[in-house]
Symmetry: C2
Subunit: 202 residues, 2 copies
C-alpha cells in the first residue's frame, strides 16, 4: 500500500545507511583514505549499488558535510529561542564543551574543515552554513549586549562572534593534541571568558 511513499522511504533508509557507514569510514581513514569498497562493506551492500544513491564519492562527502552543519544550525536556533539568552548560553557551555571534546566527533569535523581548505565545492557548503551560524549568533550577542546597556557596531559584534566560536572550535583541535583535558576545570574558565567577552566595555 501507498507504493510511492514506501519506495521513497526505502530509498531514504538506504541513503541513511550509506551515510552512516561513510561517517564511520571517514572517521577512521579520512575522506581520501576511505574507499567505496570499505563503505559498501560497512553499509552491507555491493560497491556498485552505492552509485544508485550517490552520483560519486564527492556527493557522499557533500551530504555528510551538509547534514553535519544542519545539526549545528538547529542547536544555535535553540539557544536563541531561550528567554534569558545570556544565561542560556552560559548554562549550555558544558554541553558545547563536551561535544567539542569528543574525539570521534572532533576528528570528523576537522576532516571536513581540512577538506574545505582545498576542495572548493566543500568550501562553499561549509562557508554558506557558517554564514548563517554567524548571523544568528551575532543577533544573539547584540541582544545580550543591548540588555546590558552596550551598543556595538557590526564589525565589533562580528569579531565577538569569531572569538566566541574560536574558543569552542579550538577545543576540537585541543582534544586531539591533548586527550587528557579535564572538562570540569575547563568549563568554569570558559564561562569566565565568555562573561568577560559579553560584558566588556567598548
Amino acid at each position: 500500500m501507498c507504493p510511492e511513499s514506501v519506495e521513497r522511504s526505502r530509498a531514504e533508509v538506504r541513503r541513511a545507511q550509506i551515510l552512516a557507514a561513510a561517517v564511520d569510514c571517514f572517521r577512521q581513514h579520512g575522506f581520501h583514505g576511505a574507499s567505496i569498497a570499505q563503505i559498501s562493506k560497512a553499509a552491507g551492500m555491493s560497491p556498485g549499488h552505492i552509485y544508485h544513491y550517490f552520483e560519486n564519492k564527492e556527493a557522499i562527502i557533500s551530504a555528510i558535510v551538509a547534514g553535519d552543519l544542519e545539526r549545528f544550525l538547529i542547536l544555535t536556533a535553540e539557544i536563541r529561542s531561550a528567554c534569558n539568552v545570556r544565561e542560556a548560553m552560559l548554562a549550555r557551555v558544558g554541553e558545547g564543551i563536551d561535544e567539542c571534546l569528543d574525539q570521534q566527533t572532533a576528528g570528523l569535523k576537522l576532516e571536513i574543515v581540512a577538506e574545505a581548505s582545498r576542495n572548493p565545492h566543500v568550501a562553499e557548503i561549509v562557508r554558506s552554513a557558517d554564514k548563517v551560524c554567524r548571523e544568528s549568533l551575532m543577533l544573539t550577542i547584540r541582544d545580550t549586549r543591548r540588555a546590558a546597556g552596550h551598543e556595538d557596531d557590526d564589525a565589533t559584534l562580528a569579531a565577538m562572534v569569531e572569538v566566541f566560536i574560536s574558543m569552542f572550535e579550538g577545543l576540537q583541535i585541543r582534544t586531539i593534541r591533548n586527550p587528557g583535558i579535564d572538562r570540569s576545570i575547563v568549563i568554569p574558565l570558559f564561562q569566565n571568558a565568555l562573561r568577560a567577552l559579553l560584558d566588556q566595555s567598548p
Copy 2:
C-alpha cells in the same frame, strides 16, 4: 674539499627540496590526495629518487609534522625569555593571530591534526610536541599569575593553557570557514580576553 660535509649538505638540500615540494602538494591535495609522482615532479626529481631520502610516504609526513612543531617550540621559547612575559604575550597577540589567519598555513595544520586523529604514529609526534608546548606555557602563565599575587594549582593552570591555546587554534578553523575575518578588530578582543584569563580571581 671536505667531502664528508659537502655530501652531507647535498643530501640535506635534497631532503629540504623534497619536504618543500611535499608541503606544497599536501596543502593542495591533502596527505592522502597528494601522490609521490606529484611530489617528485614539484621537487624536480624522479619518483624513485625520493626513496633514497625517505623510507616511504609516511616518513615524509612525519618529517613535515616534526618540523612544523619544532618551529612552534622555538616561538614559545622566545616569549618565555622576554623580561616582562605578560606584556610580551599581549604584544605578540597580533603576530600570533596573523599566523593563524593565514589560510595556507592553517590548512596544513588542520590536515596534520586530522591525520593525528586517526594515524597513531602522527598522533604520537603531535602529542609529545604539544606536551612540551603546554608545559612551557604553563610555567609562563604561573609566573605571570604569581607576579600579580595569584597562586593556582596545576589543574587550573593546565586548564588556563587549554583555553589560551584553544582561542588561537580555533582561529585556524575560523579562517577556513570564514575567510573574511577582520584582524584589526579581532586583535583587541583577543587581548581583552587574554587579560581577563590572566587576571581572573580563582
